[in-house]
């Protein structure tokens, strides 16, 4: 939003803003809007869960699009969107060192306790 008004300002302060313009173009290089990851809370008390991604020009439209694409069959009561660029992920090549050591450490699971009778949901 505001690309057009932005352009007018650029004319007055060319040097300062020229970098911004370049940035804008590079963002639209493949003529596509940025990608957003969508998280939906299906009901009160549950956490938001990643459901997929979509394209939108800005955060507000991303929420609207998410509403239309991912909640049209009453899947949710709350939506989060985050621009995919802002997600930092673990690298698949590091999976061995990150996750494998945990496999041999079953004692980290709280399954070695006797649960007294009458205690449910454990």
């Amino acid at each position: 939003m505001g690309a057009r008004s932005g352009k007018c300002i650029c004319g007055e302060a060319k040097n300062e803003k020229s970098i911004l313009i370049k940035k804008d173009f590079s963002k639209m290089a493949n003529n596509e809007w940025p990608l957003w990851e969508v998280f939906i809370r299906s009901k009160q008390g549950l956490s938001h869960k990643h459901v997929g991604s979509l394209r939108a020009p800005d955060a507000e439209m991303a929420v609207e699009n998410a509403r239309d694409v991912y909640t049209r069959r009453s899947e949710g009561i709350s939506i989060w969107v985050v621009e995919s660029n802002n997600i930092h992920a673990s690298h698949p090549s590091e999976a061995d060192s990150l996750f494998e050591p945990a496999h041999s450490k079953v004692y980290r699971h709280p399954t070695f306790y006797d649960v007294p009778d009458g205690i449910s949901h454990m």
Binding site: M1, G2, A3, R4, S5, K7, W33, L54, R55, A56, P57, E60, M61, E64, N65, R67, D68, V69, R72
Partner: protein, 249 residues
């Protein structure tokens, strides 16, 4: 013919024809997300049509169902405003048409939730939730297109200039409304126009768009006198029921 029947048909036909217009975008949206958004909104309108025309059929008391009314009337029996039958053209035109309509529909439903006719009030209450979202969606787009690139700005400004002549008809009132107004079934369209104008001004201002001069305003839809578009819409809309009467699937 009762005044309430006529009024319900006017509202129902607005939704029916606009819903059909939006459904034409199915599979042709500029992006997948918008394709789904427009068809969702189209379906909301078809749903509102169902409620309004079903009730109209009951009020009429001749055994006509919502399907009979939607699919088996002749062109001059349709009472939608001219605005909703105007062609989709490009996405900017479609969003501008939608915004001008939504900005009228929302305050209208807000009024009708207080209708002395309980059934109409209930329909308004249910539809209002949908319409609030429609307005948010179309207004956000008008703002982004208007304040977007030079080309998008020019296109929506042209759309606004071309569609403006159909906006007065949204507030059309005639003899039919007198009794309904007196009985508190419907409310003043002057109030309605005030809310509409306020919303339109706010959004168009943010969109850096200019309201055109109020030139010649067209009307006729409410009396069944339509632009050439409606005939083509009805040909497509009615084909199945005319070719295979009573067909269901």
């Amino acid at each position: 013919m009762s005044a309430l029947f006529e009024y319900l048909v006017r509202l129902g036909d607005d939704s029916l024809i606009l819903g059909h217009r939006l459904s034409e975008w199915c599979g042709h949206g500029p992006i997948l997300e918008e394709d789904i958004a427009m068809t969702n909104i189209a379906l909301d309108h078809v749903g509102q049509t169902t409620s309004l025309l079903k009730y109209a059929g009951e009020v009429e008391g001749k055994g006509r169902t919502e399907d009979d009314l939607a699919f088996l009337r002749f062109e001059r029996e349709y009472r939608n405003v001219l605005l909703v039958e105007q062609a989709n053209e490009d996405f900017g035109v479609t969003m501008m048409r939608q915004f001008l309509f939504d900005a009228y529909r929302k305050p209208l439903y807000e009024q009708l939730t207080k209708s002395s006719d309980v059934q109409l009030a209930a329909i308004a209450e249910k539809s209002l939730k949908e319409t609030k979202y429609h307005l948010k969606h179309s207004a956000e787009w008008v703002i982004r297109l208007g304040d977007g690139t030079d080309e998008s700005h020019e296109r929506v400004q042209t759309a606004l200039n071309n569609l403006w002549r159909y906006t007065d008809e949204l507030f059309y009132t005639d003899q039919n409304d007198v009794e309904l107004l007196a009985n508190g079934v419907i409310f003043s369209s002057e109030e309605l126009k005030k809310s509409w104008m306020e919303m339109v001004k706010t959004v168009l201002d943010r969109a850096t768009l200019t309201i055109p001069n109020n030139g010649w305003q067209r009307e006729g839809g409410r009396k069944g006198l339509h632009s050439e578009h409606l005939g083509y819409i009805l040909a497509e809309l009615q084909y199945m029921q005319r070719a295979y009467p009573g067909m269901e699937w």
